[in-house]
């Protein structure tokens, strides 16, 4: 493997991790929305 491969791995890892974190935040948001709907009933 060359240095450019490692460069690609590093920046891919950053974006993949951030993507999963944003997905987790999105899930939290929809869970909160559901709870608010439940409380309004």
């Amino acid at each position: 493997m060359t240095g450019i491969d490692y460069l690609g791995y590093a920046y891919s890892a950053i974006w993949i991790a951030l993507f999963f974190y944003l997905v987790a935040l999105g899930r939290k948001a929809s869970k909160l929305e559901d709870e608010i709907k439940e409380l309004r009933k």
Partner: protein, 212 residues
């Protein structure tokens, strides 16, 4: 962010000693600085929470700890990927690396404690104390290179005339990457803090409904 990535991949020249792999540092260093800043903020807002009991302070501490932990995880991952072509190993127990793992563990414990406490005030206060004590790891981590002569390089300012950020393009890339990651960190913290505020409001509504 796009400008930072374009500069890292297409504009900035290779560093003479480390070659292409050095470009990992344009994000790696700022990820670390943002995480450290976040943990300092955790300590400050935790102290504010312990003093006043402010819910806002607690929400900000929680948000900064969580995003700081994500950034520290990325520091460890990108550091390992950089280390493989430069040191020939993915990991070594260098003082700075070891102290970074300790920092990661402290704030992972902080978040676990909060999660287990489920809003219990006593546990939230214990977590706040941990958030304050944990920040003491940062000066040790920063000074680790000088204190124990580790092998982690000094990236920005180096005594080696051939190493470090010598080219003006390198300095600009470093500055632009820093601004991009600072904005990303701030956005993520504000998003997470907003969720924490809504979470607290929902919790209060649940309690009010139960008491009715």
């Amino acid at each position: 962010m796009l400008a930072a990535l374009l500069m890292i991949f297409f504009v900035v020249p290779n560093e003479k000693i480390q070659g292409v792999a050095q470009r990992i540092f344009y994000f790696h260093v700022h990820l670390a600085w943002m995480a450290f800043g976040g943990f300092v903020f955790v300590a400050a807002t935790s102290a504010w929470y312990l003093r006043t009991g402010s819910a806002r302070a607690d929400q900000l501490a929680h948000a900064n700890a969580e995003v700081g932990l994500v950034f520290t995880t990325l520091v460890l991952i990108t550091g390992a990927i950089w280390a493989r072509p430069i040191w020939g190993v993915w990991w070594t127990w260098d003082p700075r690396l070891t102290m970074t793992v300790v920092l990661w563990a402290i704030y992972a414990a902080y978040l676990m404690l909060r999660r287990l406490g489920q809003g219990d005030e006593t546990i939230t206060r214990y977590a706040a104390v941990l958030g304050i004590v944990g920040v003491l790891d940062i000066p040790i981590l920063v000074l680790a290179i000088r204190l124990w002569r580790g092998i982690h390089p000094a990236v920005v300012i180096s005594e080696d005339p051939e190493a470090g950020l010598k080219d003006p393009t390198m300095i600009w890339t470093f500055v632009i990457s820093g601004i991009a990651l600072a904005l990303l960190f701030t956005w993520l913290v504000s998003l997470r803090a907003r969720f924490a505020a809504i979470d607290d409001a929902v919790e209060t509504l649940h309690l009010e409904k139960e008491n009715q």
